[in-house]
Amino acid sequence: MKPPLFDYVTPESVEEAVAARAAEEDSVLLAGGQSLLATLNFRIANPALLIDISRIAALKGIDVGAGEIIIRAMVRQREVELSDAVHGANPLLREVLQKVAHTVVRNRGTIAGSIAHADAAAELPAMLLATEGVVDVQGPGGTRVIEASDLFKFHLTTSLAGDEMITAVRIPNLAPNTGWSFKEFARRRGDYALAGICALVTLDDNGRCTKARLSACGIASTAVRLESAEAELAGSTLDENTIARAAKAARDCVTAADDSQASTAYRRHLVDTLTQRTVAVARDRALERRAA
């Protein structure tokens, strides 16, 4: 179908965009359009005004600092995926991005747009949870920072107020002695996954796990941290038995009901297997990094 009628503005600053949003309640921000245009074409969304933020110079660019990667809101997914500086600071991002849609969609789609869209099956919200990243938000009242753990409220729903926008996504650099892995299972390349697992594990000098961060997409009403599984891993040497126990705990985090794509039982099975595989890869990478 074709999009419904709407008016269209191209603000040149964040302040202008926020003001436009506040002035028209029935407005929506347009970033890469890779989710929004589809909902317009389906006429699921029928806004009075589109606020295209792609011309705002202040929303472009990536900064890789000593502690974190700052990805401004109009940075396309493909730019982050191809950035060697980002890859050097946190290799998890490229591994995750390669599973987000197809190159042609990542050429347009933004990191912030995917996070703001907050699809329960999307990979980037899970990445943000595992890395304990944050988003910088601006509204008519000023700016604030929302931690990943406070951001995702339900499928397609975040804790952003209606008149707030994300100006940047900030992701901590990979910590020392830490390994990473992301794996998912999707029926076709580039599809949203039936289940995906992100794993970050930090080892001490004796090979004991001092910190584990696991998250999942596609298995609940939002991306979720797998805290019960993390607790199984902490303090262990990440031997196979411990990993198997963590995978059992992760399996119990699946709350998605049976749907046309997969049954709950099948998703539990996927989560079990993917958890075992990602934790093992993350552990091995942590050992390699410690040796290097």
Binding site: L30, Q34, N41, D52, V105, R108, R188
Partner: protein, 176 residues
Amino acid sequence: MTRSIRKVLAKESSDPRREISLSVNGEAVTRSVSTRLLLADFLRHELGLTGTHVGCEHGVCGCCTVSIDGATARSCLTLAVQADGAEIRTIEGVAPAPDILHPVQQAFHECHALQCGFCTPGFIMSVVSYFEENENPDLGEDAIRDALSGNLCRCTGYQNIVKAVRRAHELMSGEA
């Protein structure tokens, strides 16, 4: 008796409009367009460039793939107004001359990589971009399948399209 559904066709709509200027296959174009006009429909209906096909209109099939400022994009998931100031390349801009095929087009022809041809312009755009982005393209099965993953073909079964990608590489590196 047949009844006309709408006797009088609207001559103009009340759609909000914007003037856009862009370059399409190297030619400068300025037009006033409805804000809700999709780039795909702009190319097809306003410019008559009907090589860009429209299959699904929600980003899944890849038939509408064009290049925007040097990177492939879905023209069904882009508004014409978003392309203001951009450089667009469509399938019509791929061949070097009217009677000479681009090596990727030549390879599709040689390898029988199309049947009905509906998906072909989108595939060609994706494959051309794959070669333009990668000086030393990975021609392994997995990499090729990944590069093609954003395009669906309901006829060929993909085998010959994968072959055509490798053949195109041969043609371009002079191993004809």
